[in-house]
Symmetry: C2
Subunit: 265 residues, 2 copies
């Protein structure tokens, strides 16, 4: 499909991009927003989602020639002058590179588990977009096959979460299970060992022999995993230096995934 040049911010064809920050916060119907070259490239070339369209500032088109060529013919690429693009999206968007993806039907947690990936990452109450994005980035980096999130965790397809994940949220399949208890039921039924990360864990991570099918359960930084949840897991701690037992939860996921996938190397 040739580029579609847009000169009128009110052009109905770019209506899904109008005031995109507010729309994104509201869940944005069936879309999610990919922002910046790295993420839009992932959306088009390495994502499990179908792109709906791109919206590019004129000056960015040349850098994305290969991405545009890789798009199915049915996917429009809207091109606008920077000032027009700013008016469409409702703020000065210096990066000048946006895409919309179609959420489609979410996979079922049971199906992701049935595929039996060696490592699954589970997020309980991760309500911060930086942290959920960082967890997906690490999941992709260390080859976790799926991510399960509970009802209290935030949307991995929120624009900022995708950006922080460097696009990994578009690659690693995920499913939401409302309660952590139900998540553990599913994992136990499929013979996964659930490793719960907690400063209160009885086993130091460095001594954990990675189980063949392991689910890594991460709680939020403040309260951490509830005691009743932790009691159903192999509770593991990361030993730290005296007086400062505080790791970011995304960093924690990186350390634990490193240990689980590389310890025997």
């Amino acid at each position: 499909m040739p580029l579609v040049h847009v000169t009128d911010p009110a052009d109905p064809r770019v209506a899904p991009y109008l005031d995109i920050r507010d729309r994104d916060l509201a869940g944005h119907g069936g879309f999610f927003v990919a922002e910046g070259e790295v993420v839009v490239r992932q959306l088009v070339t390495a994502s499990r989602f179908r792109p709906h369209s791109l919206l590019l500032a004129e000056k960015r088109v040349a850098a994305l020639t290969d991405v545009i060529a890789a798009l199915p013919a049915s996917v429009p690429v809207f091109v606008a002058a920077q000032a027009v693009m700013d008016r469409i999206v409702g703020f000065p968007i210096h990066r000048g590179i946006l895409g919309l993806g179609l959420r489609g039907a979410a996979p079922l947690a049971a199906d992701l588990i049935a595929a039996a990936p060696p490592v699954i990452v589970c997020a309980a109450g991760i309500a911060n977009h930086d942290n959920i994005g960082g967890i997906f980035r690490n999941a992709a980096a260390f080859g976790a096959g799926a991510v399960l999130i509970d009802g209290a965790s935030c949307d991995p397809l929120y624009r900022k979460a995708i950006r922080v994940s460097v696009g990994a949220a578009l690659r690693v399949p995920f499913a939401r299970v409302e309660s952590v208890a139900a998540m553990l039921d599913l994992l136990e039924a499929a013979d996964y060992r659930v490793v719960g990360l907690s400063p209160a864990g009885s086993l130091p991570l460095a001594r954990l022999v990675p189980p063949p099918r392991v689910a890594l359960l991460l709680g939020s930084e403040g309260p951490g995993l509830p005691a009743d949840v932790l009691a159903r897991t192999m509770a593991v701690r990361i030993d730290m230096s005296g007086g400062f037992d505080s790791l970011n939860v995304a960093t924690t996921s990186g350390i634990a995934l490193y240990h689980l996938t590389r310890a025997g190397v």
Copy 2:
């Protein structure tokens, strides 16, 4: 010292808090800004810096009684109604908890190295405040004794860096050495083995036997460490899953520090 109640935003005693965002960006003279309960608590109780003063919204005073009691008598605690505090600082500051610290004289890199901590963290070209804050948080968590930063790295005492570090930037001593080459000269002269993290490293981290005196050198996420710098280090990589060799630099520091300090546990 009793609480000092401030009712006039133009009160000269709170002048250092005026429009604090802009001042912070400008380096803020001899001060740095601590924001929020966790960080202000660290400033007062576990910091290597002297506090200059606190500025609290009235509703926050009760939660900080112990912190106020721990302050030297010479340090004023200004208290203002939320609306007055908002006008002083120039934006709605919901947390209502600020402190100023005195930068004082920076330690010399040579002195930090001469103290011979087992682990030193070195940052080259880390220009992002989230990343420098995350690196300090991990340095504190795993007991690194010092951080060295090059001229291209950002200020660890910038408000956001301190916040992301959860106050660790106020605890772990650091010094700036303009060039990475000069930094390596100092470390080599003191018999430190410098481990350079790079996807191009020849040794997988999991196979690195932690040297007794080790300096962990981290470069920026995009370009990474320059080849001439890397050639002077023991170049180590973190193996990742195919097709996604991308870790955040703060997460990288956490994984490497975990390995260096816990591998033998």
